[in-house]
Symmetry: C2
Subunit: 383 residues, 2 copies
């Protein structure tokens, strides 16, 4: 019975109802109107058939396929011609079964409702997809729902030979299952974060540098009471920002206050609410550093709808530089993260890992501040 094995769910019942269509071999004739128009569905051709037709052995065809130097030029041409003529395409299941690699990598996303629609993930994913394509790899996507992880499906990905490696996006130190990858020595790169004491391979953006630049900017504009809307204290890179924020204040001779720090949960609404709390705690606040653009947008929305002008009364800086926000009103000053490039790099490093490179991967990509309209000089300093 060819119906799905293992993970059959209630749904597979209805599937059984469909007659397991017998393999209609040879070619299928498709009928349009009453004329029998030949629409040849290419007969399934395998390496044996090609070898027979070309008058060589199966091994030879295989070696031609893999451009082995042991094949003479003349044989190569002869076989290649037959391959083209027959429209032969090697079955990659057989290739992977017999070979070492599947040429597939997985991307794991966190179980957020809108993980697939997220600009942040999307940008990284673009980079991953482009590089994976160039390296001849396919991309599998998975959302790491709690159930998924609990059932060990993240390990099954390797053990059942679905993929050669995994890229993990949007996870942090709270996600302890990540250490499973290290324990089994399966190729995995954590993207835009670190984990444990360099336990895992990672690539991430330089959040410290970005935060430093953002703070320098705000301080130079004369701001002294600067609030911060952070998020995910479990995330090392998110902590980098908070730490840099604090140390920048100290370096400028300002005493950081616990009251200037509020969690905005990385969401638009969270950013708005955090801003409300911050201003109620300290109305003197004239600038806000936000952990991502979504929260910055929420902050601006709250401010403008509650009688505060941006940037005249309060300056706002974000993090991410997600697209289409340059058009917001006012447009957002933000720390640009090279997310596309990060995706490219992550994919590259993962493939190196898969191919046997052993060095620990720990790359950090530079960030920079993009000055737009949401920041301005401190009120009292203006002429």
């Amino acid at each position: 019975m060819p119906t799905p094995p293992l993970n059959s769910s209630p749904e597979s019942k209805s599937a059984d109802a469909f007659a397991p269509s017998r393999e209609a071999s040879k070619e299928i004739t498709v009928r349009f109107n009453n004329a029998a128009v030949e629409e040849k569905v290419p007969e399934k051709v395998n390496i044996r058939e090609v070898a027979r037709q070309a008058g060589v052995s199966v091994a030879t065809v295989s070696m031609v396929l893999n451009a082995s130097p042991r094949i003479s030029r003349s044989t190569h041409i002869k076989v290649q011609k037959m391959i083209d003529k027959m429209g032969y395409r090697p079955n990659r299941l057989a290739q992977s079964l017999s070979g070492r690699y599947t040429q597939v990598v997985a991307v794991m996303l966190p179980p957020l409702r809108h993980a697939f629609a997220d600009a942040y993930f999307g940008e990284i994913l673009s980079g991953i997809a482009d590089r994976a394509g160039k390296l001849g790899h396919k991309l599998l996507i998975e959302q790491a729902k709690p159930q998924f992880v609990k059932e060990g499906k993240h390990l099954e990905l390797y053990e059942r030979r679905f993929v050669d490696g995994v890229l993990c996006l949007g996870f942090n130190e709270k996600h302890s299952f990540l250490s499973d990858f290290a324990a089994r020595r399966y190729p995995m790169i954590l993207v835009d974060n670190r984990f444990g004491d360099n336990l895992l391979d990672y690539v991430h953006c330089d959040y410290r540098l970005g935060a430093q630049q953002a703070m320098n900017c705000l301080l130079q504009l004369g701001h002294r009471s600067i609030g911060m809307v952070y998020a995910a204290p479990e995330s090392p890179t998110a902590r980098d920002v908070v730490e840099t924020y604090t140390s920048s204040l100290v370096a400028a001779g300002i005493t950081p206050s616990e009251h200037w720090l509020v969690d905005g949960c990385f969401t638009d609404e969270g950013g708005a609410e955090a801003t409300r709390i911050l201003l109620s705690r300290d109305p003197q606040i004239s600038a806000l550093l936000c952990g991502n653009d979504k929260m910055a947008l929420g902050a601006i929305r709250y401010l403008t709808t509650h009688g505060h002008r941006v940037p005249d009364d309060v300056s706002v800086v974000g993090f991410d530089d997600i697209q289409h926000l340059a058009y917001a009103n006012p447009s957002l000053t933000t720390v640009h993260l090279p997310l596309y490039e990060l995706g490219v790099l992550a994919c590259e490093k993962l493939v190196e890992r898969i191919r046997g490179k052993v060095e620990h991967v720990a790359e950090v990509l530079p960030t920079h501040l993009v000055l737009r309209e949401s920041t301005g000089m401190m009120r009292s300093l203006r002429s």
Copy 2:
């Protein structure tokens, strides 16, 4: 923005459960430094080994795996126990090679720069991913770059046995390669569009119904000069909206004008520019129907930054109901498309197709208008 929270994560314990497997089989010792730290990597175990240990034939283990009714209860239990004990996981490359299915479906996205970060695609993808998971299928993602299609990689997907079927998102009649799927009779479902004269299997939202409701709303509010920001005239569903818009006007005794129609390219900026053109052509326009939310947002942005109040001067209706826009200011009245459900349905239908069901798939999901703040009564009618 790195790390969003993982919904409920008491995984700290379950993770330990995966770590070192105390399997009965042989184990590999990995050495760190000079201390011999035991890190048991599970020895690769195959079906033959399981059969030997359980004292049955390979065929029996296979049948247990696939829950064949030909296996007695007692044998089933005995073998299953050994499977669990040895931590055996069937190699799915071998399974797919000898079986009929790969249990993988591909999602093809159009070659837009931000296809992965798009709220519209993301929502559909969520539905697809959820249902695919439940049906025991993995998801492959591909972006149909021109080069990709030119090289016939979309067909290679089937012919090299990467996938059993494909879901196509964001394509229209201009994308002629879509007919290749039909010609080869490969399972494919076109999502949220039609193609040719029902040449392809499809599922889409009821754009006519949505447009009808939107127009009824605007007309009932007293609007007579209604502009439309459309996009992608090559897309049948997009044409549905324009046609419904036109016929609604006619039905209301209004003569539609060519000047009321401008292409907004589905983008934010396009929507803004289209709005500029529309108002310059006819300053009387008091309402806009936009082909998607992004263009509607662009329209609102243009209007509010050019001295037109929304909805006091101009009402705006969108299409899609993408998340986080309910918070926009003013919040957007829009036609809700059941995109998540569409993804679920598409995936379901595709899997039925793969399993041999032959009926033509042509499903249309109902839509409805969501009234928010961007629409209001025609100026002159207000008291």
